[in-house]
């Protein structure tokens, strides 16, 4: 990185040109897309053949080489145990969760890894879903860098609106491993609305129906003059086109077994049957019938399938989306008739069955003029530009799931209800239930059910040092803070003593900081350089802000300084500029400290003047009021 030396007084705001590009990434279950926006127009970054979709499939060779995308998908049948697909379904999942998902996932799990985060056994290695996702993100980053001939270091990454805290954190961790700073995690339906809203300058209430490979989201938004306000969101983070593929594959395998008899299916055969099922599903969106071949035990078998029969197989899954839509409309406090348009997102919405269902639910033809596979990445790219270059649009999103803590009898006490606008901070008071209780275990959960075991466990921590009091006397205040990325932080304090504890909610199924650090070391050859340059960039932003603040103050109050004092400050500013140019973080920090020291007297005099002039315009009573605040 190169920094130009500026004359004192000319330090510019941090230049966008110093940074790499900021892209929008749709990290999908089946396919991923990367896009870049310039001047309010987003472009999907394509390969030589014009394809915008990068299959979210990773091949791990024995020699350690990693291949992502089409080439990896081709290896799916040849070397199934070296290929990972649909890893998004495992993001933020614990080994416990897999009991419910078992059998529906195309993975071989590392069973030795007990508790905590899921690990995959691939090509003799043990990988976390975070690492696999990082490999996909890295490939997308490289695609963008090759297309633009510039480095890419920041991204807006989309996540299903219904992703819980663990899955969001895992996504952010994956980006870090891939060397990308996450500008914002944006919910997929919200990103799609952004892509539509800006194009169509639509106003009113809209629904976004997003059925992807592995996740389903539906959001109700109000769009108005550049404001995108999410009213309610809902979904199922384990419902998508993959489920339909499975239903079709099982149908083929059952037909085969009826003819050739039951045999154990190998991993490769299962993956091949799934691949045939996916092709069948896609073909039947355009045709009425067809015939597909699967191979088991070395014997190929042919399977005819009509669209009607395929739709029968898919119907149970699609029906589930209808129930979720109705619940979300109710949550938004609106009637179906209030909705002015329905936007379709996700490859699975190409199925005629899905389109008919959407029309039935919402009573109107859905909009799909933007490619449903690319619309989310387009919205993400627009938001990346808005966040780095600036924009008048405003995204106001909500929490998808209620957040609460466990109380007596395994009952969940909700602290933040679902569909609360974010960022948000809410507190609830709890008390001890035993005399002399000095510690309290706090269990944070996410979900809508009343019992703890039906909700998702996010974290546990213990608040210690509660003073010895009778049961019910202590007042423990637990504060939940959800930031604009939808990520939760929890703090707890005891009101009578002020004992406080803060936890970033990471534990239950996440990576520890140590694991993260080790992965950064392993996965990025230049991990250290990368970290250093990021920290340096942050320090430079801070240093430039300080210098600009001092210069602004000099403009209005320089008469408070003697010539010598003024010169000291000018020199200190020059030192900060030089330190920035020297590319040395410690030097910048030291120069900032000197600047702070050189301006101390100046700041004091400015405060004196400010208070005096405020006093001049105030009566004594008003001053008392002011001081009493």
């Amino acid at each position: 990185m190169l920094f130009q030396l500026h004359e004192p007084g000319e330090t510019p705001a941090p230049h966008e040109s110093e940074r790499g590009l900021a892209v929008g990434i749709d990290l999908g279950t089946t396919n991923s897309v990367v896009a870049l926006a310039r001047d309010g127009a987003a472009e999907v970054l394509r390969d030589r053949d014009g394809g915008g979709l990068v299959p979210s499939v990773v091949h791990y060779a024995d020699d350690g080489a990693v291949v992502v995308g089409q080439d990896a998908r081709r290896m799916l049948l040849e070397q199934p145990d070296h290929v990972v697909s649909s890893v998004k379904r495992l993001m933020g999942r614990g080994t416990e969760d897999l009991k419910t998902l078992a059998g529906t996932l195309p993975f071989k799990l590392d069973v030795a890894a007990d508790g905590g985060m899921v690990r995959l056994a691939v090509a003799g290695r043990t990988l976390t879903p975070v690492e696999v996702s990082a490999d996909i993100l890295r490939a997308l980053r490289i695609r963008a860098e090759l297309a633009q001939g510039k480095s890419v270091d920041r991204a807006v990454i989309t996540v299903p609106a219904y992703f819980d805290d663990g899955a969001r954190t895992a996504t952010k961790d994956a980006a870090r491993l891939a060397g990308l700073e996450v500008l914002r995690l944006v919910n997929e339906p919200t990103a799609a609305a952004l892509a539509y809203g800006l194009d169509n300058s639509s106003e009113g209430l809209y629904a976004v129906f997003d059925l992807g490979g592995g996740t389903f989201d539906v959001s109700i938004l109000r769009m108005e003059k550049g404001v995108f306000q999410v009213r309610a969101t809902g979904g199922d983070s384990a419902l998508g086109g993959d489920d339909i593929d499975h239903a079709i594959a099982e149908h083929f395998l059952a037909e085969r077994a009826a003819i050739h008899g039951e045999v154990a299916i190998t991993e490769g055969e299962a993956k091949q049957a799934l691949a045939a099922a996916r092709v069948a599903k896609e073909c039947l969106s355009g045709r009425q019938d067809g015939e597909w071949v699967i191979e088991v035990d070395g014997k190929p078998s042919r399977h005819a399938l009509t669209r009607d029969r395929m739709e029968e197989l898919a119907a149970p899954w699609i029906d589930r989306t209808a129930a979720i839509c109705r619940a979300v409309i109710e949550d938004a406090g609106i009637e179906v008739a209030d909705i002015q348009g329905v936007v379709l997102v996700g490859g699975s919405t190409r199925m005629p069955l899905v389109r008919r269902k959407v029309k039935e639910i919402f009573g109107r033809e859905p909009l799909s003029d933007i490619n449903p596979d690319e619309v989310v990445a387009v919205g993400a790219a627009l938001q990346a530009e808005a966040l780095t270059v600036g924009s008048d649009t405003l995204l106001l999103d909500v929490t998808p799931l209620s957040l609460g803590i466990e109380t007596m009898g395994n009952i969940v006490e909700k602290v933040i209800p679902r569909n609360t606008p974010i960022p948000v901070a809410m507190a609830q008071e709890f008390t001890t239930y035993q005399d002399g209780q000095t510690a309290m275990s706090i269990h944070v959960v996410q979900g809508e059910r009343e019992m703890v075991d039906q909700c998702r466990s996010l974290a546990r921590f213990v608040l210690r040092g509660i003073p010895n009091m009778a049961a019910g006397a202590a007042r423990i205040r637990v504060t939940f803070t959800v930031d604009a990325d939808g990520l939760l932080t929890v703090s707890a304090s005891e009101a009578t003593t002020g004992v406080e504890q803060q936890v970033a909610v990471k534990p239950s199924y996440g990576l520890t900081e140590d694991e993260m650090a080790a992965m950064l070391r392993d996965s990025l050859v230049h991990a250290k350089d990368d970290m250093t340059s990021r920290l340096f960039a942050e320090t430079v932003v801070e240093a430039r802000r300080s210098v600009l603040a001092v210069q602004a103050a000099l403009k209005v109050d320089s008469d408070l300084l003697s010539d010598a004092e003024r010169q000291d400050i000018d020199v200190a500013i020059l030192r900060v500029d030089q330190a920035i140019a020297s590319n040395d973080r410690d030097a910048v920090t030291a120069a900032m400290e000197s600047l702070e020291a050189a301006t101390k007297i100046f700041a004091e005099r400015r405060m004196d003047r400010g208070i005096r002039s405020a006093l001049a315009g105030m009566t004594v009573e008003k001053l008392d009021d002011a001081l009493g605040e």
């Binding site: 941090p14 500008l183 914002r184 108005e224 404001v227 109705r326 619940a327 109710e330 938001q383 808005a386 966040l387 780095t388 600036g390 008048d392 405003l394 995204l395 106001l396 609360t420 606008p421 974010i422 960022p423 948000v424 901070a425 803070t481 930031d483 604009a484 942050e538 932003v541 801070e542 802000r545 300080s546 600009l548 603040a549 001092v550 602004a552 103050a553 403009k555 209005v556 109050d557 301006t599 100046f602 700041a603 400015r606 405060m607 003047r609 400010g610 208070i611 405020a614 315009g617 105030m618 008003k622 009021d625 002011a626 001081l627 605040e629």
Partner: protein, 207 residues
């Protein structure tokens, strides 16, 4: 704007100079300031009344969020990001409180020094209200068709609106006891409306 607003002065965290305690941005260096301890009405630039123009409230809320939302500070320093998050959080809390008549009534009673506790789930000590609520609940429990539920919900809805009008009148007459009494009644009416809505979707789903 209230000209006599207290012009308390604090120190800007960024340029260290004087800044009005209620300023959103420093007039000298432009840095965003913390949200400060101001009431929800002041925060959204609304006059403290029960009668709130919801369109104006939303315009004010969007206007402040446009300037203070963390998305406006993505390229700024860590401190500015953190302050904008606090500002946006405070705006959300203010907006969510003021747009809801029940929360707004309870909040305004608190501001006027006559707090009511809406979270207390204790017994209703108003005999008349108690009898009325028991009757309505029974009627809802006995309703079996969507039409019956809808009829009850509509009746309740008009009572909600009437109750809000009475609360407004009580505030305007400065009768806080009456406003508090009606706010508690509104709480039960709203609760019944929620139950009716839940029942309506149950009745529709299981014909």
């Amino acid at each position: 704007m209230n000209v006599s607003a207290v012009a308390a002065v604090t120190s800007c965290w960024s340029c260290k100079g004087p800044v009005a305690a209620r300023a959103l941005f420093c007039s000298v260096c432009g840095a965003v300031q913390g949200p400060g301890a101001i009431d929800h009405y002041t925060r959204l630039g609304m006059s403290p009344s029960f009668d709130v123009d919801l369109d104006e409230l939303q315009r004010q809320y969007f206007g402040f969020q446009r300037r203070l939302h963390p998305d406006r500070f993505a390229a700024k320093s860590g401190k500015e990001k953190a302050l904008s998050q606090l500002q946006a959080t405070a705006l959300n809390e203010a907006y969510e409180t003021l747009k809801d008549p029940l929360k707004r009534a309870a909040y305004l009673l608190g501001l006027r020094g006559h707090p009511v506790d809406l979270t207390a789930c204790g017994t209703i000590n108003d005999r008349e209200l108690l009898m009325e609520q028991m009757e309505k609940r029974e009627a809802l429990a006995e309703a079996t068709t969507p039409e019956q539920v809808a009829k009850l919900a509509m009746g309740n809805e008009s009572e909600v609106i009437a109750c809000q009008c009475h609360i407004s009148a009580a505030f305007n007459a400065g009768n806080l006891d009456e406003a508090a009494h009606l706010t508690i009644r509104l709480k039960y009416l709203v609760k019944l409306a929620e139950e009716a809505r839940a029942k309506k979707s149950r009745v529709i789903r299981t014909p």
